[in-house]
Structures are given as structure tokens and as C-alpha cells.
Amino acid sequence: MKSKLKDFPVNHYIDIALLIFLIFFPLFVKTFRVEMMSRYLCFAIFALSLDLLWGYTGLLSLGHAVLFGMGGYMIGICYQIQNGLPAFMTREGLTQIPWFYIPLKNPIAAAAIGILIPALFAMLLGFFMFSSKIKGVFFTIITLALAQIFSEFIINVQKYTNGFNGLQGVKRFAINGGEQLGKVQYYYIVLAIAVLVFIFCLWLSRSRIGKIATSIRENEARLGFFGYQSSHYKILIYTISGALAGLAGVLYTPATSSITTQDIGVAASTAVVVWIAVGGRGNLTGAVFGALFINWAQSLLSEHFSSYWQLILGGVLLAIIFFIPNGIIGQIIELQRRRTVEGVKIKEQSNANKGAGLWRQIFSR
């Protein structure tokens, strides 16, 4: 039992600490901070979805916000068409709600579609890309182009999407014109879903599929020699990742009550990559931590240094990526691993030295 506890990876202690912190968070702060945290939790789910793809499978997508946006827009449209034809459609000369929007009228159906469509889209895209052996930087470039195309597309079909202004007035899952969920209530729902997503990702990463995904990252050719069809697994991971990104979008739009093209384009896609890079990729905790940490840092810095906050944040991010390329959580895990190896080598060392050693290692790098 004791040795099991010893093997318990350090990042799970951080997971548990984070979870406890998030559960009690609403008790200590104003409602609007809780609301902010629910947004950031959606970002955390979004980051998890990309971590599966990038951290585990080694496929860097610079267009992941497209899948996020697809989910978000479904809910956005759902609440636009609740009271008949919205003003932006009337302005563009539509006289009735387009037929393909009718299934979105029910928020629950819209949420389901908002998860399904990005999943299908990812599957289709994955099918074309992976079965024609597009990989590495070419995959990244295609997804980058996709992000640009998608946000341009949303801007230009304003008849259906309200273009650059985006969709406003999204309710927190008010069903059949009823009351919407309370802000704190919604926070706990998002938190519960985030925890489930985290556990699912953890399970997936340890399952056979997850191990094959890791092998794809490490050496795809060798995996092929073993007789695995790596493209099938890549499509599967991309599809799952798409569904989770869509889910994040579905939860995000009600949390901010609006979605615009700024949430779905290249900038949003690169932001999530940065969160994961700072938190550490390929260990799930890093994605969650990075998303929460950077978003909070952004908000608090911008409140206190209104003109220079982006400069400060940029500097900090650069420093983190430059000095600890594994990311914050990645580095902590790496240190534990190294210490375990060292611990085997040099068994007799005073406890005090060990304790100080961690910090020495952090600061000496």
C-alpha cells in the first residue's frame, strides 16, 4: 500500500488540490469571479481536447478553435431563434428561419448537435488528411488555414451568423422559455462536466488506444511495422478531440452569453496551444493548469496594468517556454521522475537535502 502511494504521480496530487480549490472557490469570491471561472473551465476542457491530439498523439493543430466554435455557434443560434426571426436575419432579407436551423430550437438538441457536428467534421477532415498520409508540419499548416477560412466564412455568411458582431443574449440553458440556470449552479455543472472529461481523458490515455496514440507520437513508422493502421487511430483521436472541443464550445457560449468570430479564429486557436505549452503537454494536468493559470493571469494583469499587461504576460510566457520547455506541470513531473531515478542510485541522503533539492533544481535551471 505504501509503495503504491509512493508511485502515485505528483501531478495527481496537483489534480486533487486543484479540484478541492475549484469546489470551494465560489464560497470565497463574488459571483462574477465564479462566472469567469466557469468560462475558464470551459477553456480547460478545450485545452484537454487539444492535449489528447497534440500532447499524446503528437499532432499539433493550429485550428482547434474551429471545432470549439462549431459547438459554441450551435447554442448561440439556438437562443437567437427562440423568439422568431432574429433582427440580423430580417435585415439580410430572410423571411423565415432557415430549415437547417429548426432542429437547433431545443437547447438540449442544439447541445447534442454542437458536439456531434465538430466530431463529424473532425472525422471527415481526419479521414482525408490521415488516409493520404499528411502529417507533421503539413497537418499544422492545413489546420491553420482552416482556422482562417472558418472565421472568414462565419464573417461572410452574416445572413446566418450575424458576421463580425457574433451572437448575443445566449441564456444558460433556459429550456422552453423557462428560467436560466443560476451562475453558481452553472459553474458547478461545468465543473462536474470538466471532471468527467478529465477522468475520461485519463482513462483514454491509459487505455490501449492511448498507448497507441503515444506510440504514434514517438515512432509512427515502427508502429506500422507492428501491423497497426496508425491512420485509423489518428482519425479516432481527432474525432474524440473534436467532440470534446465542441462540448467546450457548447458550455462556453452560455457562460459568456455571447460568441463572436474572435473566439473561433487563428488567435483563439493559438491561445490554446500556448496554454498547453505553458502548463505542459501530454499529462492532462498541464492543459487544465495552463488554461486556468493563463486566463486568470490575463484578467488580473489587465485589471491592474491596463496598457502593459499583454507585454508583461508575453514576457512571462516567453520565459516559461524558454527556461522550462516541458511546461510548469511537465517540469514538476520530470523532477519527480529524475528524483526517483536518483533515489534508487543514492539511497542514503538526508531528508532535508532532498526537500531543498527540488527548489534548487527549479531555480538552478
Binding site: I14, W296, L300, W309, G355
Partner: protein, 427 residues
Amino acid sequence: MKMKRIIALAASMVLMASLAGCGSTSSASAAKSSGSSDSSSDGDPIKVGVLFSATGSTAINEKTMTNACIMAFDEINAAGGINGRKIEYIHEDYASDPAKCTEKIKKLIEQDEVVATVGCCTSASRQATLTTLKDDDSLLIYPTYTEGEEIHPNVIYVGAMPNQQAVDFIPYLLQNIGKKVFLVGSDYVFPKTCNKEAKALIEQNGGEVVGEEYAPLGQTDFSTICNKIKQSGADLVYSTVVGESNVSFYKDYKQYGLNPETCPICTISIEESVLQAIGTEYSEGNYASMPYFSSLDAPASKEFVDKYNKKFNDGTVVTVLTESAYSSCYLLAEALKKVDDPTDTDALIKAFNGLEFDAPQGKIKVDDYNHCTWVYSRFAKIHDGKFDIIYSSDKAIRPEPWPAVLYPQYKDTNFMPDWDDPICYPQ
């Protein structure tokens, strides 16, 4: 081994606690100040939000708006404040991002407990605040000229409505330049809504629309559109291209052989800052319509521009947006003087109805009913990189959020539908 885990755990807790700490300390201070404002003692400052981007794509314009607010509130405080109470303004930067704008307006209202906010520069950012304004029952004073067809009960619109920029401008153009008009705009709600009214006005005044083209937002290649203008035989181009695209548009226009002397670009969407970016060579001879130009030769305007340039030496120039933000602050101060309790939003909104202010552009007035503002109509011919004003209306023009030329049904109801009509604002 154990030690290390404890340290790792502690480190993560410390990090989280410090993050939460920032949040909770500031909320604690806000709670304290709200506690004392309940007793409404005279000395307490009245908190007002200023919500403009300091970073991002619209930062150039929004910086001058922030400056204008700082200048106005400093002046108001120096003159004794609001019934003996000073104004304390809190600036938030939303980085030209509507989602951030929602977050920041919530922060201002719920944490800082401001009584009202002066802010937002684009329709997208304004619309991103509407749900919060309604839920939290707060007030936004929106200074930018806008496309209309939206009136929110919690917003006062100080910028021009499309009719105020077009009703004098278009007849003048048709009489003095030519009857064949080519409409060019960015593919965006502002140009499309404005052009709808422009088309009706052109037809009403005996003109003819010979073409209508929209370029995607941020477009930098106008060659196709310039060729189409050439082929159409237009006498003038009526432009609602917004933002930085204008720089490419004016440049391409001349480079593709179109001559402002025979076919000028007549715009309702460029300010001094964009004019500077376009440059003297390409802007020469074109027309623009705005409620205010910084070249306005009136004592109030000159004084305003001098004050601004003396106070801020950061490369920003006075534009219609600066003037409008400045007036917005003064209108807010006047409204605050009229109410007993500044935190009573309903009373504050009512206090705006019919409120007048001697702005740098002249005497402006908030409409008695529809929350829009009576502003002047002016147009200018661009010469030597400056707006040479060729026409000024003798008094402020009535705002028509739903212009009468398109919506005769609202003519008798202050040019707007009922407040509870769903088309009144996006909900």
C-alpha cells in the same frame, strides 16, 4: 520522497491561493466601499467605468476616447464634482475582443459597482455588453456613431445615427457632383444598414445607384471594386468602408486611374486618424460627413483641441470619437447632478431624457424619448490632409434610429418601435 510531494502540493496551493488572493482582496475592497456608499455620505466619490481598448485592433481610436474621458472627468472634478462628490473613474481594457468586453463590463458593474460606464467603440463590443447591462440593471453611454436599428433601454447613444450623417449629405452630393452613385462598404452590419438608408435617400432625391459592392472586413485589395467603379460610369462613390481598409481603398482608387476630381469618394466612416494613415496624396479632393471635425472653426472646438493636445502628447489626434466620448462624460455628469441617488439606474436613465450640453461641436441634446442624441450634420472636402468644412447644419439634427425614409410606420413614435418589441434590440 514525501517531502517533495508536500512541496509540490504546497507550491500549487500557493500559486492558486495567490491567484484567488488577488480576486478576493479586490472584492473585499469593493465590498468595503459599497458599504460606505450605502450611507451616501457627501464626500464619497461616485464610481464611473471607462471601458475602452488600450490594446488590439481598435486601440488607436479607443485610446483617444479614453483620453477624452480622463480629460472630461478631471475637468468635472476640478470644477467641484457632482453635488460635492468627486467622480472616480475606473478604466478597463477589453483588448478589442467582444468576449473580453462582456467580462470587463461585469467586472465594472459587479465588482467595482460603478453607477454607469462610458465605453465601447464597435457595435460588436457594444452588443456584447447588452445582456449584462440588462441583467445587472446598469447604464452604458456609447459614444461611437452607429448604424441604428437598435435601441436598448440601458444604453444612451451619443454618436450619430445614419440619418444624421446622410440626410443633408446625400442631397448635396446629388446636386453638386452627380446623379450616378456607386455604393462601397465593408461587409459588416454598419455599412449594410447605412447603405439601405442611403439607397432610399438617393432614389428619393432623383439619383441612381449604379452599383453596390462589399469588401470583407480588413480587406486590403480593392482592385476588383475599383475596376467595377470604373466600368459603372459613376459620378461619385458613397463609401462606408470602415477602419484600416480605407488606407488600401484610397490608394488603389487613385492607382487604378480613378480621379477624385471627377468621381470623389464620399464617406461617412473616416476620422482624422484614418485620414492621417491614408496620406495627403490619396485623400485629396474626396468628401466626408461627420457631426464634428477637429478642424471646426469655433471657439469651443479650438479650445477643446488645444486642451487635448496640451494634455496628451501620445501621438493620438482629436477625432469625432474623441469629441463624442468627451461629451458623453459631460452628459453623464449632468445626469448625475439631477438625481438624488446615483445608484438608482432607472432615475439616472430618465435624467438623460432631454439633457443638453454645449459640446465642442455645438449644442447637443439627448432625445426626450429614444435615447439617441441630436447632433450636427457637417461635411468636408479633404484638402491637404485636412477636412475643410463646407457645410454645417445650423442646429443639431434629430436622430432617427429607424430612419423615416425606410420605416414610415415609426415616424410618429419617435422613430422607434415599442420598448418591449423584440426587434427593438437583440435579446
